[in-house]
Symmetry: C2
């Protein structure tokens, strides 16, 4: 049977919408329909996304927020700590919903462009150890390994048989 006790992880973390509202109020900014739409669009994205991609999907969904508003709102969401930049290469900006998530490391296959995300306690432990050593107060981190996946190596091998 379903327990009547709500999941504490849900009750203790107010929905992101409230988080964003509160952040905006604190900054003297307004929670407008456009900003709500953009946050919803972000919440619908499962993983890593780009600004233009988000905009395109919103357009397809019939949402009317302009490009400028999307870019401006992504900055606010970043400031609010709801999303984070994902630095894979310097081609363009990428983002990801990270509020309340366990920080993740990434493996990027340079052959297939596949991105694997992983959680590993040793990662945050190492971060904390290094921060302590330098008197740093950590806010976020990026750990990305570039290399070849088994599939990537297989693809290369196959291609070299030409």
């Amino acid at each position: 049977m379903t327990p009547a006790v709500p999941d504490p992880a849900i009750t203790l973390t107010p929905p992101l919408c409230s988080i964003f509202r509160r952040f905006l109020k604190r900054q003297g900014l307004k929670f407008t329909p456009e900003r709500a739409e953009i946050l919803e669009a972000v919440l619908r994205k499962p993983g890593i996304f780009e600004a233009e991609e988000l905009l395109a999907e919103m357009r397809q969904a019939g949402l009317r927020a302009s490009k400028a508003t999307v870019y401006r709102t992504l900055k606010h969401l970043l400031d609010a700590g709801i999303i984070s930049e994902v630095l894979i290469d310097s081609e363009r900006a990428r983002y990801q919903l990270t509020f309340g998530q366990t920080p993740k490391g990434r493996l990027v296959c340079v052959e297939t462009d596949q991105i694997i995300e992983f959680e590993n306690p040793a990662l945050t432990a190492l971060r904390d150890r290094i921060c302590k050593q330098y008197g740093f107060e950590p806010l976020s981190f990026q750990f990305t390994i570039y290399g070849t996946s088994p599939q990537g190596r297989a693809a290369v091998e196959k291609a070299s048989k030409d």
Copy 2:
């Protein structure tokens, strides 16, 4: 007295100029005066640098390589494994001489923009452990912690006394 035996680390690692020459030849490309100039300019940079910055310094030194050639050559140096991209944010591309260097992690102070680089054996150990777990063959990695340094926190505190 000075031993007659040369340092193996030096004899075994040919100068970067030869490395680059060899790389170019292997690719059917030429080692031109422009490419040599650009490599020299890179070798003169102690740390992290940007393409336009490199170009500006070359111009000041009276070197005539064009913007297009600088950008094109940076790509070759990247392919040759002589320099690496440094991903700090998505504002622009940054590079760093990394050939033969121990891989480094970075601490970025979000208040002062100071960048501290550190070496830590646990970092590569963790990388190897994770790669093994996923069957990845590692080529490079980025480990960057964002937070506040003691100086950054002091600066914030001082600024809030207004």
